[in-house]
Symmetry: C2
């Protein structure tokens, strides 16, 4: 079952974090761009990142938008990146945020959960179209796959719809209740479901509320680091068992070598060492906060 695989991988690495592979050409060291050309360099940059973090991190999350922006070749690199990550023992969550009517949702599910385009371990999806747009994805939870449904997103405007109140509940709370219901039949050995949720690090108060509503949903938490979420903010996404959440950082890790603090230490050819340091630092910061709260 996906959720058990995820939790075991998190335990094995003692690290509840995800590295977001959202490559922008400007993050890629010039020596790679010169050697491979801008687009193909994306694959080699991803490959080096995967090689660098695979013994530390349980999971990667490529954001497909950045590959779509690079065209057909970019999408091919998305596929090769996913395949390389999985071959190296990483769990791959494709951040695709798809959402469409049933017959179309089936086509998306086929693309990502059955390998029509590329087989990943889990996808992110958008709940705006309701249950019949969700079920074609959650059906795959019986086939070792996972689904992360947006509840409260990390961006500023998430309030526009998600914070509206209906029958005394915010929309993100209503979505939380739906997620809990949809995930009910896919609970694994640790009491968590393969139907998971996305809850932004930038909203700790809402995170606390959602943690109470969704007893069995694992949280994927974006917004840590570059978007402003801190270890103190994200701690509310965990339960007393020290489980329940996996924290994503993208730019904060994969562009670590562009920050002054690391530029001082590593030369361009050793950019992966900056990435490794940043990944270890994130792991330690979060684990320290977890110890403070739960030990």
């Amino acid at each position: 079952m996906f959720i058990d695989r995820l939790i075991e991988k998190i335990k094995e690495k003692d690290n509840p974090t995800v590295v977001g592979l959202d490559p922008r050409i400007e993050f890629i060291p010039v020596f790679l761009r010169k050697k491979y050309g801008d687009i193909e360099a994306v694959y080699h940059y991803n490959k080096i990142i995967i090689d660098t973090i695979k013994d530390i991190v349980p999971c990667i999350k490529p954001q497909i938008a950045f590959y779509e922006a690079l065209g057909v070749k970019g999408l091919e690199i998305f596929k090769r990146t996913v395949e390389y990550g999985r071959k190296n023992g990483l769990i791959v969550i494709a951040d695709i945020k798809r959402g469409d009517i049933g017959s179309t949702a089936k086509a998306y599910a086929k693309a990502y959960l059955e390998g029509g385009f590329v087989e990943v371990d889990a996808v992110t999806i958008n709940p705006y179209l309701g249950e019949d747009s969700i079920v074609p994805f959650t059906d795959y939870c019986n086939k070792d796959k996972g689904v992360f449904i947006l509840a409260k997103t990390s961006n500023k405007s998430s309030k526009d719809l998600q914070d509206l109140t209906t029958k005394g509940k915010r929309i993100y709370e209503t979505v939380g209740h739906y997620i809990e219901k949809w995930g009910n039949e896919y609970i694994g050995n640790y009491g968590y479901s393969s139907v998971c949720s996305v809850v932004g690090a930038t909203y700790p108060k809402e995170m606390k509320i959602l943690r109470k509503i969704m007893k069995s949903a694992y949280f994927l938490v974006p917004g840590y680091g570059a978007q402003g979420g801190t270890a103190k903010d994200i701690i509310h996404s965990f339960n007393d068992d020290g489980l329940g959440a996996i924290i994503n950082s993208s730019r904060g890790i994969i562009a670590a070598h562009t920050k002054e603090e690391y530029k001082k230490i590593y030369k361009e050819e050793d950019f992966h060492l900056a990435i490794r340091d940043a990944a270890i630092k994130m792991k330690n910061d979060i684990n320290n906060e977890l110890k403070r709260k739960f030990n």
Copy 2:
């Protein structure tokens, strides 16, 4: 401006309809599949459809999910289909229903509205993440592009979130007000905005309400035909000027040759004639209903 181009094309063809290019392998005549192989046949099938309808129909709407499900080669065919359609004078709405935080939304907008992947005329997007996820797309309305934002979708479960009531208004109504606001600065010569909306044919009552809320948004109306929407249902998406909506049919047109009524008339090699007949029938049905209401 996109919206003026769209309206002029609708007037020129005297036809407020869109053909949805949602290819499934089983729709494609066997002689094409034998000649080109299943995947490449999709392109040739699309090409024949475009050649067949381009003098009748103003607009096509490829649904990207069906291409993603066919892998990298499928996505390449999506690109070639869009390019062939635009070269032949059709307006192309890419049905992608993307929605993500600002920086990611920018990458999607670059992919589809700037040609990073393929340049289309307009895209569909999902409003769940709020204004800062929308603006990266609507920014392109100054550059001859259009955006169709989901308000009330055609599927049964659209009620799960879209029909919830907040401050006396349904969520789809609130989204309608947002769309009207977001589109305010992109009004063209006919009083309509390049920021448009998606409103399902299957909900005529909600359509009437939304038509009143969104004075300047053009409606893209899915759900006609195969999903159950009739000419009487969709008539409420039009204004008294006879403008305001463009009605989509996908399966009803591109799989017309698989229906008994056409199978009796045309042999497999002439499948495009069934498609042409169905496209003309849809045009006439809708235009007759428009005449009944507005003349």
